[in-house]
């Protein structure tokens, strides 16, 4: 049965057939007995990109465009290791990055991580930071 974002929420109770861990364990398979048998890996207890995209669709269907966009970006970030995510976060903080560095992050997001929306978000930040003097001061020194 195909997914209907306007009626299939909550996924956990209405469409458990669609919800799996990244390792493919169905939601109902995450039980105490599975934990006892060592079948559940802590790193595996999280949403997949697909689940987050479905949540983005639910948000959009309920009229929440920006929440939807946020969840779309989140879906893209599921595959990126936390340290890298925190590096990008730090790079987006004021006066941390040069325009070239932000462009490089955007390129890596797009090319290496398949995250075009996150990449576009970083590029928009680069443009705004350049206008507002929020890029790293070192850039001027380097030029």
């Amino acid at each position: 049965m195909s997914f209907d974002p306007s009626s299939d929420y909550p996924l956990g109770s209405r469409r458990p057939d669609l919800v799996r861990t990244p390792a493919g364990v169905p939601l109902e398979g995450v039980t105490l007995s599975a934990v006892r048998q060592g079948l559940i890996d802590a790193g595996d207890v999280r949403a997949t990109a697909e689940t987050l995209r479905r949540q983005a669709a639910v948000a959009l269907a309920s009229g929440r465009a920006q929440l939807s966009a946020n969840l779309e970006r989140a879906a893209e970030l599921t595959a990126i290791p936390p340290d890298t995510i925190l590096e990008i976060y730090t790079a987006l903080r004021p006066h941390r990055s040069t325009a070239a560095e932000l462009e490089e992050w955007a390129r890596r997001l797009e090319d290496e991580h398949g995250a075009p929306q996150a990449a576009a978000f970083v590029l928009e930040a680069r443009a705004a930071y350049a206008e507002r003097g929020l890029l790293a001061a070192v850039e001027r020194a380097r030029v």
Partner: protein
Amino acid sequence: MPELGLVAFDGPNDPEPSLEIADGRVVAIDGRPEAEFDAIDWFIARYGIDVHVAREAAELDDPEVARRLVDVDVPRDELVRLSRGLTPARLTRVVSLLDPVEMMFALKKLRARRAPANQAHVTNLKENPALLAADAAEAAARGFAEIETTVGVSRYAPLNAIAILVGSQTGRPGVLTQCAVEERRNLQLAIQGLVTYAETLSVYGTEPVFVDGDDTPWSKAFLASAYASRGVKVRFTSGGGSEALMGQAQGYSTLYLEARCLATIRAAGSQGVQNGSISCVALVLSLPGGVREILAENLLAAWLDLEVASGNDAIASHSEIRKTAKLMGQFLPGTDFVTSGYSVMPRYDNMFGGGNYDADDIEEWLTVQRDWQVDAGIEPVAEDELVRVRERAARAIQAVFDELGFPPVTEEEVEAATHGYDSRDLPDRDRAADVAAADRVFDECISGIDVARALDRHGFGEVAEAVLAMQRLKISADYLQTSAIVGADGAVHAAVNDPNRYSGPGTGYRLEGERWELLQSLPHVLDPAALDAAREAEGETEEPHEKVRELHVASIGNRSDEVVVAVGPAFADGLRATINGLRHGDVLRAITDGIREGGANARVVRVRRISDVAFIGHDGALLSGSGVAVGIQSKGTAVIHRADLQPLDNLELFGMSPLYTLDSYRAIGRNAAGYATGRAVGPVPTMMDNFARAKLIVRTTLLHARETAAIVPGAPPVELELG
């Protein structure tokens, strides 16, 4: 000093609302063209305005939009849609047109989730894990939907997170938890499944303050996506006064700056916000209209379709009256979280600098809910049940520490955490060993799954199940939708599947049925039946109660020195003591002794036709040879009356029965004798306790109901003989 931002509404630099769109792009906001955009304008213009709705909104004037906010026939969805076309200055203008009651009404209408809820703070100065777990369990049992902790020493974060996770799930499965620490640690805790939500993402209304906070709208929005990517619920934080406090309000009003924050937060795609001045509340309360401004902030957030956790956490004032008057702005309409941190433990242990309301105020909070028939998210729980969950939680965290090889939680700690008042009752722990254990949580990546396993192995199967259910939440990610909370059965209640559809009387969330039964069954409320029975028992315990004998129908006396003592229908019969606990026999003896001391003769009658003291006294006076009588009700209220006066007039009235002793009644008798014999009398000194009425009004009502029930309609008075 408006130029410092110390102005609630209409700051000197607040711009005229405006919005220009060219080629489907926003090119000017609130008087500022694109070339002059700061980072906040840029972010809002790029992500926060729906240009189609903007054209439609431009056709409406401000009063019309304001009117729609309070029009029950304009649905929430329509108002939320309209908000997508409004700029911060326009939003500010429109809500400024509403008075406080209109704002409360609009807030009630615009709350995202159907039912309000509440959030708890749980911390303690010693960072004692057993006490954290016990307090979290109590918070959960009391119905809080979210529990927030923080740290004194940042290295403690993983232990505190584990303690409130275990405690909360012991008290009630499904409660969301967070540990407010620096973002990197916070994200790591989330990844390890030790917390389920975060609300640390602060936003400010001017660019310099945003940058001083070491963030931009883009970095915060990216962080929000990062949390969501790990299946963690996120809400942002903003609140009026922060820009002024940080010295960069730029002459804007508090409300305008908050409107910029909220527009940014929605543009970033947050599902919700913690707002309403938050930690700067005392600053905003120092401004004229400050409380109204804070309510306007909450209203704006709800209008922008954000989940609202509406402050009331930081101490707003030293004045209990001002504090609670402010609270009503959120309490009566109901927000998604009426407080963004109710201090479940005593204020002494609140490490958020909070504790506006704390452990000692819970009974009052529950009573105010009962007074208004309003659900503000806290449930009454019987004392023995609280003790049970507190101990169970302390033992659960003891087991987890044992299984994970952390420094042991001793029996003494379990005992003190269960029964103690605050962390001063807890023994000191080896803090060096505790932080070393905390480091292990990160180093060895100890997870929510490990916590569930530890609980399971030590016989805490039901807590293990609940902790595991919190892990499952991250897999389905349902609770990332707007205003999501989780029931004890694991069901997610969010604005998507459980929306507020208030559309006038009889609609929306109403406190009724089982929930109302629950919220009015307060442990400190006395059962009227029990109250009555207790009083009756009191009269009976000491010695067999003195009987009066009814002789015959009373006749009119002919002795001019006679004073009649007229008692009520239930006196010394169905009722046996006054409200002050004086036995009726003793009271009668005191009055008649007083009459004799005053040189008159006493005759006792019972008035049966009426229970009102004035008529009891007047009926007595009509029988009295001297025309003077003392009337007394069973509860002890007395009057000195005279036959020629109108029934509701009197010579002296004694309405403060809770204060009277036998000496008082003897003095009443003496004075009555004085009136009868024509001696000049000074009135019995008046006694007064204006709180007696408030304190005893229920008991008074019950006693008077008994007296009234003993009435025999139309029956003539009968003469009594003291047993």
